[in-house]
């Protein structure tokens, strides 16, 4: 395991992502709602670079009390990122797959000290 420097505190802006590497191992580090989240950049589906894709809010179905459907909308409080190979979606704060909660990305530890942010990979 290696500790990799990701950024100086304050350097990453809301919604930013950085891919860092240690040999062939990569991690994606996200900055969202004032916190850092990091996962192995490896989709458990077919091995895609899961952390490199589009960042989108979770999609919700709009269902009225009488169970009639009224289209879809976004839940801006729950951001997802999407593996660019096939579209597998992951919750940014947990790494859990949107389609199957038993599937999740391997999380990587984040540490902050002396004004720097590191990820253990």
């Amino acid at each position: 395991m290696a500790e990799i420097l990701v950024c100086r505190e304050g350097e990453m802006e809301e919604g930013d992502v950085r891919i860092v590497a240690s040999g062939h191992r990569e991690a994606g580090v996200f900055f969202q709602d004032g916190a850092y989240y990091a996962y192995r950049n490896l989709c458990p589906h077919q091995g895609g670079p899961a952390c490199e894709g589009m960042i989108v809010p979770k999609v919700l179905a709009v269902i009225a009390e009488d169970q009639t459907a009224h289209g879809h909308t976004y839940d801006e409080s729950q951001m997802h990122f999407v593996c660019p190979w096939h579209g597998y979606e992951y919750d940014m704060k947990t790494g859990v797959c949107a389609g199957d909660s038993s599937l999740r990305l391997q999380s990587c530890a984040i540490s902050q000290r002396d004004g720097q942010v590191y990820v253990t990979l």
Binding site: V6, C7, I19, H24, E52, V82, G87
Partner: protein, 407 residues
């Protein structure tokens, strides 16, 4: 420590390169020693409409060339039947939108370079290329337009893309709505370099058992050229139009038309009428095959008299056919998948396909990592079965040959 500089990549600001996007697949290829054996991809795609200006020059009918040559007309719109759909998932599948920015050298043809980028990255030696938008051409209300565009595309493919590219091949477009013209196309292109057979786009509505088609099947059988049915969807189909989501129409549509053609093919005794014609079913996945075998066998045993040409059960004929692997249904169903492989004689009848660069592509590891296959079975499915089916001369990628030298 304060002076340390972070080394990172911002994926949203990086120039698009296929090799970079697929580097994890390249690692898979190295770890699994793909360099040691041939991998043939029987179904991959290019975006032929990006070169429509070139293709139109090969269309015989000058009035069609003129109709399509206006500045506003060169493109998919207006020339071929379009389809509603969101293949790129609104940008989630990044290669759809970014592909156009990828740099290629002046030669060979851009589609050759783009194909080799992903082939080398995932470990494919030989790829069978198919068009994308033209997969809907069988629904053109003007049959002559299907014939003209098919012939123009086939000429362009054989002269501009396949020529001098031993790692690329194609089953050329067969305009089956015009059987006489289809036979002419077989006669004209059947011997061309890189032509491994002919492909019928499955989204069409003239039944394949029509007597007018028999001369087409005979022409293929006589030449030992395989026939394939490439699946597709038609959201305007009266049944599929009930579906309100693309996921639904794609999941059903890509099996729906092949199920109809398969049923017609078997029940009308075409395997008995053309016993040496090899038939390949493309891009319907695998789950539909056991379903069809069970349904048709069950009905056949009770209604044998309605299929008097059959000497065996429908599933027996289906086991003689070939199937491309993608999109292989493999979410938490290992036992079912293993049974499916047994039912279709996968070791000899299944041929690997990626469907790259489309959104539901499968890597060779989807086959190689299956624990119930022997090493030889894996190699058969990934390459040997296709090599035999298409009578291919094995050609290995430069990447693999270089890796072998390194040991």
């Amino acid at each position: 420590m304060d002076n340390a500089v972070p080394h990172f990549r911002d994926p949203h600001k990086t120039e698009f390169e296929t090799a970079q996007l697929l580097r994890n697949a390249t690692q898979q290829a190295e770890l699994r020693n793909y360099k040691d054996f041939l991998i043939v991809d029987v179904d991959s795609h290019h975006y032929e409409t990006e070169h429509l200006g070139e293709i139109l020059k090969y269309v015989d009918d000058p009035t069609i060339r003129q109709l399509a040559s206006g500045k506003m007309s060169v493109g998919r719109s207006g020339l071929m039947p379009g389809q509603l759909g969101f293949q790129d998932m609104g940008g989630r599948i990044t290669r759809y939108t970014k592909r156009k920015t990828e740099r290629t050298p002046p030669t060979p043809h851009r589609d050759v370079s783009l194909a080799k980028y992903w082939m080398d990255a995932i470990g494919v030696d030989i790829a069978c290329l198919f068009p994308t938008a033209m997969l809907h051409l069988g629904m053109h209300p003007d049959v002559s337009m299907e014939v003209q565009l098919a012939r123009g595309y086939n000429r362009w493919m054989t002269e501009r893309v396949l020529a001098d590219q031993p790692r690329l091949c194609s089953m050329l477009y067969l305009p089956l709505n015009a059987p006489d013209d289809a036979v002419k196309i077989i006669e004209e292109f059947g011997d061309k370099k890189g032509v491994t057979g002919f492909m019928v786009t499955s989204t069409r509505y003239r039944p394949i058992f029509d007597n007018a088609n028999m001369k087409v099947f005979r022409a293929l059988e006589e030449r030992g050229l395989p026939l394939s049915f490439h699946a597709g969807y038609n959201w305007n189909d009266q049944s599929l139009a009930q579906l309100n989501r693309f996921i639904s129409v794609h999941a059903l549509g890509f099996t729906f038309f092949n199920m109809i053609h398969m049923t017609n093919w078997i029940i009308n005794g075409l395997p008995e009428r053309f016993p040496k014609l090899k038939v390949l079913w493309i891009e319907s996945g695998l789950a539909w095959i056991p379903f069809m075998m069970q349904r048709l066998d069950n009905e056949y045993m009770m209604r044998t008299s309605e299929a008097p040409l059959l000497k065996r059960k429908p599933s027996d004929y289906m086991r003689d056919m070939f199937y491309s692997s993608q999109p292989m249904e493999m979410v938490n169903n290992r036992a079912m998948l293993e049974e499916t492989f047994k039912m279709i004689n996968a070791e000899t009848q299944l041929v690997y396909s990626s469907d790259y660069p489309h959104w539901d592509m499968d890597l060779p590891s989807t086959i190689y990592d299956l624990p119930f296959l022997s090493e030889q079975a894996k190699r058969n499915i990934l390459g040997e079965n296709a090599r035999k089916l298409f009578n291919l001369e094995p050609v290995f990628s430069e990447t693999k040959l270089a890796a072998r030298l390194k040991g």
